[in-house]
């Protein structure tokens, strides 16, 4: 028994089965990411003034990663087109670039994550005076990297201070804080450029709350990590499928070329969707 229209298109619908399937699947994916984006909007609109973090992500790296993904979208189309023209070698080459881009994207994303896990915010019980360029201002929230026993620790929380019996630690403060406006941030960054950080010694007893930039830091990072991790999972799965078709599954090109081309097309459709999600993610999370 064979299922009809697995390879040929059905005349009245003009489409083969798997293509219907993948479009339906993508529709459900739109709803999945749509719900997360809606949650982002609702949480951000509902946040108290001055509490929604911005300017904490690395925009140049994010931009570069966007370019990497867009490149992979182009090569996916080129590889499918090459296959349609019967040029298997060219297909192999383009799809190899796609896979490299996927790996590159995930690598860069991991680097960004790692950076966040050792970057902290400290909420203080009593405000301290810090230097901002030439001015001295009073703040009760500080951003920066922690130094303790010569290490830059990961994943510390308020509880860690008690558990590890940390009496005090050093903070290398960032020049900016998300409570500033974008203009103030740009100004503070320009001021701080080239100058050495001034370390602050903080007593654990003065700390109201301590959190790395992890999901529990704020609803902003909760949304950031949920959306980007789910997206990264999609990149990983998409790359795995493309790799399977490209590598071990490539024998089908000899036995059933039409079906093979369909497979490449289907995986390409999914890949474009994954890229499209990122095109939305990048401005929403990095720029807005």
């Amino acid at each position: 028994m064979d299922i009809p229209y697995t390879v040929q298109t059905r005349p009245d619908t003009g489409i083969y089965n798997a293509k219907v399937g993948v479009w339906l699947f993508l529709a459900s994916e739109v709803m999945l990411f749509g719900a997360l984006f809606s949650s982002y909007i609702l949480l951000r609109v509902g946040a108290a003034t001055g509490t929604w973090p911005h300017g904490l992500l690395n925009i140049p790296i994010g931009t570069f990663n966007t370019a990497v993904l867009i490149t992979s979208s182009v090569t996916v189309v080129l590889s499918w087109a090459s296959l349609k023209l019967g040029n298997f070698g060219r297909y192999k080459l383009y799809q190899a670039i796609t896979l490299l881009c996927a790996l590159g994207f995930l690598g860069i994303k991991s680097y960004e994550y790692r950076e966040k896990f050792s970057h902290y915010e400290v909420w203080l019980k009593t405000p301290v005076i810090v230097k901002h360029g030439t001015e001295e201002i009073k703040v009760d929230r500080l951003l920066g990297h922690i130094e303790h026993d010569g290490h830059h620790p990961f994943f510390w929380t308020t509880q860690t201070l008690t558990d590890k019996k940390v009496a005090s630690f050093k903070l290398l403060p960032d020049p900016v804080h998300y409570t500033m406006t974008s203009k103030e941030m740009a100004h503070a960054r320009a001021e701080a450029a080239g100058k050495p950080h001034e370390e602050i010694e903080i007593k654990s007893a003065d700390v109201k709350r301590l959190s790395a930039f992890v999901p529990g830091h704020s609803t902003y990072f909760a949304v950031y990590f949920t959306l980007t991790a789910l997206h990264a999972l999609h990149v990983l799965c998409g790359a795995a499928v493309i790799f399977y078709i490209w590598g071990p599954g490539a024998k089908m090109w000899q036995t059933d070329p039409e079906r093979y081309i369909n497979r490449v097309e289907i995986s390409g459709l999914f890949w474009h969707f994954v890229d499209l999600v990122w095109i939305f993610l990048f401005p929403v999370l990095y720029l807005l």
Binding site: M1, Y5, P11, G21, A27, M31, A35, R209
Partner: protein, 601 residues
């Protein structure tokens, strides 16, 4: 329309070789839609029974608070942490309540109504050799089983199963310090993946694999119902998956998606960032939750339509109205969800919007019911067991639907919200509604699956018993609810009775409390009435009356034009469809039914 479909290259193209697959590949890892349908059916019926038993324990606790549960008391004592001494503690009551809802909705009714019947019947009715993606179909069933196992195992972990209700409202769901909720969420993600794969498969199959001549308006109504249901599952479930992931992060990673600033648990300020929104969970949950109601009912309506057309021996009245109504329900069901949330303080303007859409969606529902009622008019009705269940569906679903209207009005809902009235309302829709339709389906398609009829006498015993006791169980709840009895109370409202607290104005009267006993024994009776059914299924499978024709009900639709039971690949010759689905009693025809694949003279 012939021109559109003449090139189905492989339909029914039987290969001469017949390798008999082994037990494992035939029954456990099968890709045949009929086997998968039966797998779904058996598993879902087991969960239906299990969910019912949970409810029996709860009804005992409500009627006889803190007394040892008869029969199962020792089991509770032995296996469950919160069941020490065989008594339903409040924690155990809460987890049974949460799991009763979850199991009934996600592990019993949806898999039975959508996956089991849909898998078995839809490809046959559209003249397809199988589903479009047989292996995806198998994966769908495996995800379902995995989800079921996770849910089941959660009863036995330390702290027991989830306790925050089947709706799992935050922050309650996050502040209970056990792992039941995490299991619930992981189980739900598996079940959502399962229904996603199923939905993609159903829609692709119906779009792509209709046999030549099977145009859209020649589809049996059951196929239409399943088609719309699949779209609801496809588009409404993902937001709950997103919500589930977020609540899982709240539980395990310490995020605050649904936890507000300043949340205190047990009198202590929670160590969280705050800034989340409990209302967000409710929106995401009910965005699934309401279309889910139609996922529960539409396949039931489809089955009833098939059975009624067959047993009145005349075409369905208003086939096109039925089809357009079911499509309208599909669209509208996405914009009514917040009528579950009138009391959250989301605002009167939003309430007014959802109140309006809710009233609008009742129109297509009433059209469907009306068409089915009018279909009976002037028919020579055969009162066999499937028809009895289908007939009972009409008034029972009618009661369930109409009692929903007061809940849809924000003003009336202020009084009725979260009372037993709500329980009675949606159980009338799902229990004597959908479940009766499912029974109708089982009795109706059993001969196609097994080649034997189910016993009519015991079928009728099953029907009348279920019909009476269903009403004994659910009718009193309307009165209790209107008197202000709140749901989810582990002592059945004992602490709010005027007998215990004479000083309280409006305390629950003794009459209302004594209805608990009526309901308890009604439920026990309902349980006993299922015994003939269970025995009937197994006995008829072995020694039921053998059917002499492939079409014992003299039906017109394609599933009866196959060998019995249908072989792998379904049809001996690729069918071509020449006529409408319900050509019963066509004037001048040789018989009172004309199959869809019979050529016009």
């Amino acid at each position: 329309m012939q021109a559109t479909t003449h090139t189905a290259p492989h339909v029914g193209d039987h290969k001469p070789h017949h390798e008999e697959p082994g037990f494992w590949s035939k029954y456990i890892f099968s890709t045949d839609h009929k086997i998968i349908g039966i797998q779904y059916g058996v598993t879902a019926l087991a969960f239906l029974l299990f969910g019912f038993c949970l409810m029996l324990c709860m009804r005992w606790q409500i009627a006889h608070p803190n007394q040892v549960v008869p029969l199962v008391g020792p089991l509770l004592d032995k296996f469950l942490e919160d069941g020490k001494g065989g008594i339903m503690t409040a924690n155990l009551y809460n987890s049974f309540g949460a799991m009763h809802g979850t199991i009934m909705v996600f592990l019993a009714i949806v898999p039975l109504a959508f996956a089991a019947f849909g898998n078995y019947v839809v490809p046959l009715q559209i003249g397809a050799p199988d589903m479009a993606f047989p292996r995806v179909n198998m994966a769908s069933y495996q995800f379902y089983v995995l989800g079921g196992i996770v849910m089941f195992v959660s009863f036995f972990i330390p702290g027991g199963a989830a306790q925050a209700g089947w709706t799992s409202y935050s922050p309650l769901a996050t502040s209970i310090a056990t792992h039941g909720q995490a299991f619930w969420l992981i189980g739900m993600v598996c079940l959502i993946n399962s229904s996603l794969l199923g939905a993609v498969n159903f829609i692709a199959t119906i779009i792509q694999l209709r046999a030549p001549g099977m145009t859209w308006m020649r589809l049996p109504f059951f196929v239409w119902a399943q088609f719309v249901t699949a779209f609801l599952l496809l588009l409404a479930f993902p937001p709950l998956e997103a919500a589930g992931v977020m609540q899982l992060a709240d539980n395990l990673l310490g995020t605050s998606f649904f936890l507000p600033t300043g949340l205190a648990v047990g009198g202590k300020l929670a160590d969280i960032s705050g800034g989340g929104s409990p209302l967000l969970w409710q929106h995401l949950f009910w965005f699934l939750g309401h279309p889910e109601v139609y996922v529960l009912i539409l396949p039931g309506m489809g089955i009833v339509a098939e059975v009624i057309a067959n047993n009145t021996r005349k075409p369905l009245w208003g086939y096109k109205s039925l089809v357009y109504s079911v499509l309208a329900i599909g669209f509208l069901s996405f914009i009514v969800w917040a009528h579950h949330m009138y009391l959250t303080g989301m605002g009167t303007k939003i309430s007014a919007f959802f109140q309006t859409t809710t009233m609008i969606i009742s129109i297509p529902s009433v059209i469907i019911l009306t068409c089915l009622f009018i279909s009976l008019w002037g028919g020579s009705i055969r009162f066999n067991t499937p028809m009895l269940f289908a007939l009972a569906f009409l008034p029972m679903f009618g009661i369930g639907g109409l009692t929903g209207l007061p809940l849809g009005f924000a003003a009336a809902d202020l009084h009725l919200h979260d009372t037993y009235y709500v329980i009675a309302h949606f159980h009338y829709v799902v229990a004597p509604g959908t479940i009766f339709a499912l029974f109708a389906g089982i009795y109706y398609w059993f001969p196609k699956m097994t080649g034997r009829m189910m016993n009519e006498f015991w079928g009728k015993v099953h029907f009348w018993g279920s019909f009476i006791f269903m009403n004994v169980v659910f009718q009193p709840m309307f009165f209790q609810g209107m008197q202000g009895m709140i749901r989810r109370m582990a002592d059945g409202g004992l602490n709010y009775t005027s007998a215990l607290h004479p000083e309280t104005i409006g305390g629950l009267s003794q009459t209302m409390m004594s209805l608990h006993t009526v309901i308890l024994w009604g439920a026990v009776g309902l349980g006993l009435c299922q015994i003939p059914f269970i025995i009937n299924v197994f006995a008829s499978m072995k020694s039921g009356r053998k059917i002499t024709s492939d079409n014992p009900w003299n039906a017109t639709t394609l599933e009866w034009q196959t060998p019995t039971p249908p072989p792998h690949g379904n049809f001996e010759h690729a069918p071509t469809i020449h006529r409408d689905p319900y050509d019963y009693s066509v004037p001048g025809a040789a018989q009172d039914f004309t199959p869809q694949n019979q050529a016009k003279p």
